[in-house]
């Protein structure tokens, strides 16, 4: 058994082809690092994807890879997992694809807790098809198909995945490489449906949309790093915090009063509502969250599926062609 513990062990022979400056390079690097850090066996990792810029990633990894249809990877992964429950199955999904042709497949997979890890690469635009809005594009964005500015209400991917039943949901950033590395490791270790939204900069069609979180000097004022069991604070000297109040979230300036105590983040909570609320917080009114929103364990799809009559018969079985109603010809 050969182990591969260098990121380069996970590079395929193919030349990497994204635009200069694309955030996908950083993500690919962290994926390779995660694979080698764990370390994982090359032959047991399978990366599936469809069509899109991000979806090229499987081509660049020396694991097993399958680049099928735009929108088809999630269901194919579900089938693969039923055929070979021991493999670790990854899906790379752009926002355009994930919340376009794959919406249905994706949300049902959340519901069923299919044991796959989805890297949802969100650049809030359809890149490869040359810059159309997706269901995550923020209002007012000028796109190839919305030259007067997109007007639809976007989704928060993590919140919707949570609402649909995902058992592991996290968010990270292309350029925040250490954080991203950790989150990928967490996802890889999760048993069940893992959904990782990675905010990724599309240099060409949607440059700098995440700049407040990614590179601006005052980024600590804009985002919370979620940590399980820790109070949710942020900003210089952690002077700011957030707190659940009834069915919503409030900003607090923590001092010693109980009423201003920030809430403690609980990624293992039975209910997913706290996580959903965190996943929808948005600048400028609120900080945005990165980290693990939720990580709970529930029976996986392939397990419950095979718990019924589907288990292979341990003895050498024989096919009963006759059935109960056969008869000899007299």
């Amino acid at each position: 058994m050969i182990t591969h513990n260098q990121p380069t062990d996970f590079a395929s022979e193919q030349e990497v082809r994204w635009c200069p400056g694309c955030g996908d390079y950083a993500i690919l690097a962290q994926v390779k690092k995660m694979l080698s850090d764990m370390p994982l066996l090359r032959e047991e990792q399978v990366f599936l994807s469809g069509i899109g810029c991000a979806s090229r990633m499987p081509n660049y990894l020396s694991t097993y890879g399958f680049r099928g249809l735009h929108g088809g990877a999630v269901s194919a992964a579900m089938g693969l997992k039923l055929a070979q429950p021991n493999l670790t199955v990854w899906i790379v999904l752009g926002d355009g694809e994930g919340f376009g042709a794959a919406t249905q497949h994706l949300l049902h997979a959340c519901r069923r807790n299919v044991d796959v890890k989805v890297l949802f690469i969100n650049n809030e635009i359809r890149g490869l098809s040359r810059g159309q809005e997706s269901a995550t594009t923020r209002p007012g964005t000028l796109t190839a198909t919305c030259p007067e500015g997109s007007s639809d209400n976007p989704w928060h991917p993590c919140a919707l995945a949570l609402a649909a039943g995902a058992t592991f949901v996290a968010r990270s950033l292309d350029v925040d490489v250490d954080h991203l590395g950790t989150i990928l490791q967490r996802a890889s270790a999760h048993k069940g449906f893992a959904f990782v939204e990675i905010l990724q900069n599309c240099k060409v069609y949607n440059d700098l949309v995440f700049d407040n979180l990614a590179t601006q000097h005052d980024r600590p004022e804009h985002l919370i790093y979620l940590e399980h069991g820790k109070p949710m604070v942020y900003g210089a000297q952690n002077r700011q915090g957030i707190k659940f109040e009834n069915a919503s979230v409030a900003l607090v300036q923590p001092n010693h009063a109980a009423s201003t105590a920030p809430s403690i983040h609980d990624e293992a909570s039975e209910s997913s509502f706290a996580a959903q609320m965190l996943a929808t917080l948005e600048n400028p009114d609120f900080p945005e969250c990165i980290g693990v929103f939720r990580a709970v364990t529930r029976i996986c799809h392939h397990e419950s599926f095979y718990r019924g009559a589907n288990t292979p018969n341990p003895e050498t079985p024989k096919l009963d062609l006759e059935g109960p109603d056969s008869f000899p010809v007299e």
Partner: protein
């Protein structure tokens, strides 16, 4: 109640080699609670043991639970049966009507001098009105058929079971339970009429109701009462003329009535067992494919499983995921759902992965007529993809052929790593026929060299079958990337170069030729040097065969062939078409096979079609053959 007198045809009394009745078709019809399906099944069981080859087609109501005695709630079974090796006859010479609505829907199909056997107890004013009869069609001046036999089956059944009148005190079984035995009374009458031994039915009842002695007793009583009543009351004006038994070569073999869906399922299970690879059917349940789905769900295990998908694209995608994982991914689909899977078929073709599509044709466009027969998706199967993505297309010729053909389809899919579509119609999937169960040793193996994971060739390096090694994820040291992009021949490397695309197009076309060789030639039966060839495909085989037999009687020399492989066509197709001065291509659509043949070959032929959602009628095909044979051309 003792069996004292029996008619000469009663095979219980030592006349086992008595000749069989000639080909017949009977139809049984009634309301939901009349138990038509069970009646038909038991009749087939008994007649099958006697040496008949049976072919039955059920018709369900479109409504899920229609109001009692309405036209919308009629259940029907049509049963054609003939001695083995003999052509069937589809003229209904016997109609059993358990209620007026059933009669109303089927009165037009009974031959003028056919027998109508009716349960007169359900021909009351209310039931008649529900069915739209102003007057009683069983008797009086509105009597529909001169050979009508009215039997108060409800009363007689009750009498037989309870030795009393319905509702009277002392009844042993409730009215409702008694009611459910009426079909057995009718069965007894039918078996008497056709001189079919009753033992198989008695055995079946004993097994079925062993846990419930009172029901068992009641059933037996009702059944025997029907049999005896026919004799004692001398109800039938005459019994059918028997003709000498030509062949009972099947004697002693084990037989069962099998529907096409049952047969398909058995085949899939066989593949799972033989290959030791997972076989999974993923599907939505769009009628008529919902039947195989329910059946599959009930029969999972031993490597075979079923999953209900959220839509057709998901279903096919799950299936291809299974195949990518080294199993056989299957999907069942019908009509309008088929094109949604086209993209996945193309992917299977590009990535070279096995995929088995069980397609169930329905009549009509859009929602159409899901309960009606048609061979409506051949065009879609042949052409319905972008670019030149080939799909192997096979069609079973009968319910039992669903077994053999599905095995073959799985074999092609796995041997060539290619998508394969089986085109079903209701005549081969929903219908049942007597099936001589094959010897286990005769079943095909599924071991191919390219399954070996230790081959040194790359993932797309083809063997002599033009099939690549089937390296599946999990195999150490063989990691590679597959997908739907065009690529270099024999390599997984993506390429958009014209010459590579051309090479791949040619490669895929060449593989289809290998598959044609693998599948073998089309056999032709009938007269050597015949003047006319009748060619069909799908579930119409028994009807076309019978029509040929009939037409032959008019002195026409006929050859008959029935295509089970539609793409690639058999290698001898052209040779066959050129061997006959005239060719008649019969199908239940606007003439798709005919068009396919015309497009490829030159021959002198006509297209004979039916497009109203019903099966061919033997006599109509016969007429068409005769006319065409006599036409100068």
């Amino acid at each position: 109640m003792e069996e004292k007198t029996v008619n000469p045809g009663n095979p219980d009394l030592g006349a086992p080699s008595l000749p069989l009745a000639p080909a017949h078709a009977i139809r049984m019809t009634g309301d939901a609670h009349d138990g038509i399906a069970m009646l038909s099944h038991l009749f087939a069981l008994a007649a099958g043991s006697r040496g008949y080859h049976l072919y039955s087609v059920p018709e369900y109501p479109a409504e899920i639970r229609a109001h009692a005695n309405t036209l919308a709630g009629v259940h029907t079974s049509s049963l054609a049966f003939a001695p083995y090796q003999e052509p069937i006859d589809d003229r209904t010479s016997f109609l059993l009507a358990m209620n007026p609505a059933g009669l109303k829907l089927h009165e037009s199909c009974l031959e003028k001098d056919g027998i109508l056997l009716a349960n007169s107890d359900s021909f009351g004013a209310e039931e008649l009105a529900c069915a739209g009869y102003l007057e009683n069609p069983l008797a009086g001046k509105n009597q529909l058929f001169h050979r009508t036999i009215s039997v108060p089956m409800a009363q007689l059944t009750n009498h037989a079971i309870n030795l009393t009148r319905a509702g009277e005190k002392g009844a042993l079984l409730s009215y409702r339970e008694v009611d459910r035995c009426r079909n057995l009374f009718a069965l007894g009458m039918l078996l008497w009429y056709y001189s079919i031994p009753i033992d198989p039915v008695l055995r079946w009842l004993k097994q079925k109701f062993s846990v419930n002695p009172s029901i068992l007793d009641a059933s037996q009583k009702a059944f025997k009462a029907g049999f005896i009543y026919s004799e004692t009351a001398n109800v039938f004006p005459q019994v059918p003329a028997y003709h000498p038994l030509e062949s009972l070569s099947k004697k002693g073999r084990i037989c069962r009535m099998i529907s096409g869906n049952d047969a398909s399922l058995l085949a899939l299970k066989h593949v799972a067992l033989k290959t030791n690879r997972p076989v999974l059917l993923a599907s939505t349940s769009r009628p008529p494919s919902h039947e195989i789905c329910s059946l599959a769900a009930k029969n999972t295990g031993d490597g075979f499983s079923f999953i209900l998908a959220d839509d057709e694209h998901a279903a096919a995608s799950i299936a291809i995921g299974v195949s990518y994982g080294g199993g056989l991914g299957c999907t069942a689909v019908s009509g309008v759902g088929f094109p949604h899977q086209s993209e996945v078929v193309s992917l299977a073709s590009a990535a070279e992965l096995p995929l088995l599509l069980l397609e169930y044709q329905r009549a009509g466009i859009s929602t159409g007529l899901p309960q009606r027969v048609a061979q409506s998706d051949l065009g879609m199967a042949l052409m319905g993809r972008n670019g030149e993505a080939p799909l192997v297309v096979l069609a079973p010729d009968s319910p039992s052929d669903c077994f053999a053909l599905t095995l073959l389809a799985a074999k092609v899919a796995m041997r060539f790593l290619a998508p394969v579509c089986i085109l079903h119609d209701l005549l081969n999937s929903r219908a049942s026929e007597s099936w001589l169960i094959p010897e286990p040793e005769s079943l095909p193996d599924f071991e191919f060299p390219h399954f070996a994971s230790d081959s040194s060739s790359g993932p797309y390096e083809c063997d002599d079958h033009l099939a690549r090694p089937w390296i599946t994820p999990g195999t150490p040291g063989k990691e590679h990337r597959l997908g739907g992009n065009e690529r270099k021949l024999n390599s997984p490397q993506v390429s958009f170069l014209p010459q590579d695309h051309l090479a791949m197009n040619r490669h895929r076309a060449a593989r289809m030729q290998r598959i044609a060789e693998f599948l073998g030639p089309l056999p032709v039966s009938g007269d050597n040097g015949a003047e006319i060839l009748v060619l069909g495909w799908g579930g119409t085989k028994n009807v076309l065969e019978a029509a040929c037999a009939m037409a032959k009687k008019s002195g026409i020399s006929i050859a008959f062939a029935h295509l089970r492989f539609l793409n690639p066509l058999p290698k001898n197709m052209e040779m066959i078409l050129n061997s006959y001065p005239k060719v008649i291509v019969a199908e239940l659509n606007s003439g798709r096979l005919f068009a396919l043949l015309k497009e490829k070959f030159e021959f002198n032929g006509i297209s004979f079609t039916r497009q109203d959602g019903l099966n061919f009628v033997i006599s109509q095909v016969e007429q068409a053959i005769i006319q065409f044979a006599r036409r100068e051309s």
